[in-house]
């Protein structure tokens, strides 16, 4: 129940009425490590033929640009050994495929070769329950004065489901991600909720629900707690390196960051009334 953690962290910050101050720290920079962002996403109502994989590296915490990795070979194959090649868009670190064929519950294998190292991972395409409706509440949030958006769906019964929710706002730079599991609402109508307290009338909000695997859920739980503003309260758990599901088969110790995920998603655009 990640959401409870988030709420506790939020409440504690609220109650501490603490003061925050941006400080400049002298932080060391570790040698760069490859980051593979292979998030294959089949949006409902599309063919899913077009897919993109990004290769970058780690960089200094205060650096404003992220170094890209070019010259790699990237491909994904399905369980019947049908190969989908991803070709590089020069200068962007992006590798695209235009003939990908997504199939629910199909198992896919990623292979990336870069600088003499080969990286592989496998993942199963998870389905997602369709979004049924969006409900706006003008007396929401913790103070009761914020606009709160709830996006509903019907959780499929008799199976464990894991979700990644994304809210991006036309008026805000940062988007919100959070993950959830259906342990407490197995088979019921449930919702995701906007976590921003700055939503205002006229904003366009893009809500995306992704169906994800349990291991991707675990990965994102850690990753998002490290990246989000929810971390860092006195109740913070120790940050650590977040290992994904991609293995360096050439040299295991030189492991990559990132994840090979493959999800069905449903998306809705909502204009705040």
């Amino acid at each position: 129940m990640k959401r409870i953690n988030l709420i506790i962290a939020f409440i504690s910050l609220l109650i501490l009425t603490s003061c925050e101050e941006v400080v400049q720290l002298d932080l060391p920079t570790a040698p760069p490590r490859i980051v593979i962002e292979a998030s294959i996403n089949w949006q409902k109502g599309t063919t899913g033929n077009f897919q993109k994989i990004k290769l970058t590296t780690t960089t200094g915490f205060y650096d404003t640009s992220v170094p890209i990795v070019s010259g790699a070979t990237v491909s994904v194959k399905n369980s019947s050994n049908v190969n989908f090649n991803f070709s590089e868009i020069s200068g962007k670190g992006e590798y695209v495929c235009t003939n990908f064929i997504p199939v629910i519950n199909e198992k896919y294998t990623l292979t990336v070769t870069s600088n003499g190292q080969t990286y592989t991972a496998t993942e199963v395409l998870k389905s997602v329950a369709p979004i049924t409706e969006v409900i706006q509440n003008d007396k929401g949030g913790f103070t009761g004065n914020n606009i709160e958006i709830k996006t509903y769906f019907n959780d499929p019964a008799n199976e464990s489901n894991f979700y990644l929710y994304n809210y991006s706002y036309s008026s805000q730079v940062l988007q919100n991600f959070y993950v959830d599991e259906d342990t407490f609402y197995q088979g019921n109508r449930f919702f995701s909720v906007s976590l921003s307290d700055k939503v205002k009338k006229g904003d366009k909000i893009n809500v995306t629900h992704f169906g994800i695997s349990k291991s991707y859920y675990n990965y994102l739980s850690v990753l998002l707690s490290i990246a989000s503003n929810g971390g860092g309260s006195p109740f913070q758990s120790p940050p650590a390196t977040v290992r994904g599901n991609i293995i360096n088969t050439t040299n295991a110790a030189n492991y990559p960051l990132g994840y090979f995920s493959i999800s069905e998603s449903d998306k809705i655009e909502y204009t705040v009334q």
């Binding site: 409870i4 506790i8 919702f191 490290i226 990246a227 940050p239 990132g258």
Partner: protein
């Protein structure tokens, strides 16, 4: 070793020791021996006094009163002078003719200059040098009340932080850490009942109402055999009994909370009651504002005690505590939590040499959370029922035996989940309740072996039975956590089978022998060296991976997979009094090792986890350090300086050669590691009207992990981290001052008032509670953000008694 064998062993030791003392009395059989015993009380209100020193100069023997004010000593017949001395009281001298067994109840009068109450150690005839007790700090409540504190709220726990070897996670953090141990490793007792969460408002204030407290002791090491169940320390707090002479009330009005306490006789000189309450009221101001009127944040607590003395040999005490914190925001979020305790005790004297106390104790901790906007209601808690029978056998002036039995039955509720409203999408769920029984027996002896050498030695035998009804998961190779060698990751195991154990069926058993030893060798009349060893075992684990406890943290019993923590600690010390005991110095070195310290796999989700064994690994915690404490005990200007240099480290190696362990299996700094810890506390009595207090604290920052890079994933900037706790927050320090005004108009009238003015953190140091790494919400650029809690905080409070 079976229980029978242990009991047999204890019986043998008892006989042997009786024989020893018998033999001794045969040696000087020229004189017959008689026992003098009694109770020492405060003459104003018959409140029993704990730790009063009775000194017999002719024979150079001392004894002290126990936690019920009782003393007993057996001496050769003769006439003796008795000097009874106690902090803040006038030393009483009386002459006794000891030609038969005698009862002598002593009334001590408060020192004429009440201001002298601030003196913290026993002076004159102090047996601190002689006694093998070490690593023990006693604080009188009157000295705690004089310390400057944040928002003027007198805080028993925060005052402990000024002692050597005691730290916490920073301002506003709950709990405290003793000698590099976790906050969950402290046994906190209020009138013998276990307090599971010692803080109000997430750690800002402690749950102990200072007006209701008589005395407190903090054992950091050399822990006597009558205590068990936690590995790092024991904080033993006694509530006042209540005045059996006259009705009194006292209280205080502060910025955050106000308190009132009433006490008086039920039957004069025989029985008394005490009832006290405290409540914060800041939320009342919230109600005044239209915007905040639906929000609430407050805490309250109630203390109660009744005592009745049937005859000189029988007294009963009933004491209780009830406290709650309540937060609610706009009816969409409600959070209530707190402790409750109830304790019935019976003091009985079997003879003037054999004191006994039987206690029946109940305590519980409740946590409730209601998130109405998600339709989620959560309850969790722990209840325990404790029966305890302790004996103190004053065999001779140089030999005393303590023994007793204890049984605790626990009921844990790790979580009940309910829909909070009819339209909620949440399903009802009850996480498996857990039950356990923890019986123990102990025997310990206090013995003066020679004029110079005295020793306390004892043995505690503790047992722990994890009981049904419960369902136990079994795993391949008995391993609930598996290691993925490809990804170098720990993962949750999958149960291969389960077994249901019916009610009260034993699921798992642990037994531990816990030897305790401390000794003192007196080098001269004013200096001694001491050494101690203790083994402690802890069967309850706090499931938490944060640096300080949160109210939501769940306690769980040891079971097939969660092993009890076992600690070994050795300490050595040098103790010296200077200048006719005006000054004293304590230097102690310690080394502590704790096995089976829980560590969590990365990304472990601890809340509402039904199979906690799948995310934990057994690690090790070790800490060592050197503590100094220099005290000025008397005079208008008094106080102490303490300094500790210490290390606290943790490691969780891989279970096999192929596993990485946590942090690559290397030792890393625990979050309790504070390399330097300096504290100064002083008090200056200018005149009868004004006194001043000052505190200064300086500590190394808490170990944290700073990122060593960043990367982009899903369009968000993710900090990347290296090894754990390699960095530290900036050094933590603050200076606090207080002034107490006692108006001279108090004299000769019943109503006595007192104003306390304080300024916390006078130079407005913004101590870092944490440093977070995040993206700026306007620019998206990475930034490091320091969160600090208190700047400079002035406060005033008014205390009264009548």
């Amino acid at each position: 070793m079976s229980v029978k064998k242990i009991i047999y062993l204890f019986v043998c030791i008892s006989f042997a020791s009786t024989a020893i003392s018998q033999e001794k009395s045969n040696i000087d059989s020229s004189k017959k021996k008689f026992t003098i015993s009694g109770i020492v009380v405060d003459s104003r209100n018959n409140e029993t006094l704990i730790g009063v020193t009775l000194y017999f100069p002719e024979i150079k023997s001392t004894t002290t009163t126990n936690e019920y004010g009782f003393y007993s000593i057996t001496l050769p017949s003769g006439s003796y002078q008795v000097l009874a001395s106690y902090i803040g009281f006038r030393t009483l001298s009386t002459q006794i003719e000891l030609f038969n067994n005698k009862k002598l109840d002593i009334n001590l009068n408060i020192d004429g200059q009440e201001l002298k109450e601030v003196i913290i150690t026993d002076k004159k005839y102090s047996n601190d040098i002689r006694s093998p007790e070490m690593s023990l700090n006693k604080l009188s409540i009157s000295s705690i009340k004089k310390m400057p504190v944040v928002l003027g709220e007198v805080d028993v726990l925060k005052s402990l932080l000024l002692l050597p070897g005691v730290t916490n996670a920073g301002e506003g953090a709950s709990g405290f850490n003793v000698r590099g141990g976790g906050a969950d490793q402290n046994l906190i007792l209020l009138d013998e009942a276990t307090i599971f969460n010692s803080s109000h408002v997430f750690g800002f204030f402690s749950v102990f109402n200072p007006d209701a407290i008589k005395d407190l002791k903090l054992y950091k090491g050399g822990i006597p055999a009558n205590y068990g169940g936690r590995v790092s320390s024991v904080l033993d707090i006694y509530q006042k009994d209540g005045s059996s002479k006259e009705f009194h009330a006292n209280g205080g009005i502060g910025l955050i909370s106000s308190r009132i306490l009433v006490e008086g006789p039920i039957v004069k000189d025989k029985g008394a009651f005490l009832i006290g309450g405290r409540s914060s009221y800041a939320h009342l101001f919230l109600k005044l504002s239209e915007e905040q009127k639906n929000n609430a944040a407050y805490f309250y607590d109630l203390n109660m005690k009744l005592n009745y003395k049937f005859d000189p040999n029988n007294s009963v005490f009933l004491s209780g505590y009830f406290g709650r914190d309540v937060f609610s925001l706009n009816n969409s979020f409600t959070n209530i939590y707190g402790n409750a305790t109830l304790n019935l005790r019976w003091n009985h004297l079997y003879s003037d040499k054999l004191f006994s106390n039987l206690s029946l104790i109940y305590s519980d901790y409740y946590y409730g959370l209601n998130l109405d906007f998600v339709g989620f209601q959560w309850d969790s808690g722990i209840k325990n029922y404790n029966i305890k029978y302790d004996f103190k056998n004053y065999i001779s002036d140089s030999f005393k035996l303590n023994y007793g039995i204890n049984g605790i039955y626990y009921e844990f509720n790790p979580g009940t989940i309910r829909p909070s409203n009819p339209t909620s999408g949440i399903n009802f769920d009850q996480l498996d309740k857990k039950y356990a029984f923890e019986p123990s027996i102990y025997l310990s002896a206090e013995q003066n072996i020679s004029d110079k050498l005295s020793v306390n030695y004892g043995l505690r035998y503790s047992m722990f039975y994890r009981l049904g009804a419960s369902t136990v998961n079994y795993y391949a190779d008995n391993n609930p956590v598996t290691f993925n060698t490809d990804l170098q990751l720990y993962e949750k195991g999958v149960p291969t089978s389960t077994q249901f154990f019916s009610k009260n069926k034993v699921i798992q058993t642990y037994k531990n022998l816990e030897p305790r030893l401390s000794l003192a060798y007196q080098l001269s009349s004013n200096q001694s060296i001491k050494g101690s060893y203790n083994r402690m075992s802890q069967y309850l684990q706090l499931i938490s991976n944060t640096s300080s406890p949160t109210p939501l943290d769940v306690w769980l019993p040891s079971d097939n997979y969660i092993k009890p923590q076992i600690a070994d600690q050795v300490a050595f010390g040098y103790f010296r009094n200077f200048k006719d005991e005006a000054y004293s110095l304590e230097v102690e070195a310690y080394y502590k090792n704790v096995n089976n310290r829980l560590d969590y796999i990365d990304g472990a989700d601890l809340i509402a986890n039904k199979a906690i064994e799948q995310i934990i690994l057994n690690g090790q915690l070790r800490s060592y350090g050197l503590e100094f404490m220099l005290k000025k005990n008397e005079g208008r200007f008094n106080g102490w300086l303490s300094y500790t240099i210490s290390k606290s480290e943790q490691r969780t190696p891989g279970r096999t050669a192929t596993e990485s362990g946590i942090n690559n299996g290397n030792w890393y700094k625990s979050v309790y590691d504070k390399l330097h810890n300096l504290a100064v506390t002083t008090n200056y009595n200018l005149n009868k009207k004004w006194s001043f207090g000052g505190n200064f604290a300086l500590q190394s920052g808490q170990p944290v992990t700073y990122p060593n890079g960043q990367y982009t994933y899903l369009g968000i900037a993710v900090p990347s981290y290296g090894l754990r706790n390699e960095n530290r927050l900036p050094a933590y320090h603050h200076l606090d001052l207080s002034a107490t005004l006692t108006p001279t108009s108090n004299e000769g009238r019943n109503w006595k008032g007192e104003w306390v003015f304080s300024i916390y953190n006078i130079y407005n140091r913004k101590n870092a509670a944490s440093i977070n790494f995040r993206q700026n919400e306007n620019t998206g650029a990475n930034e490091a953000v320091k969160t600090s809690i208190f700047g400079v905080v002035p406060a005033v409070s008014y205390n009264f008694k009548f």
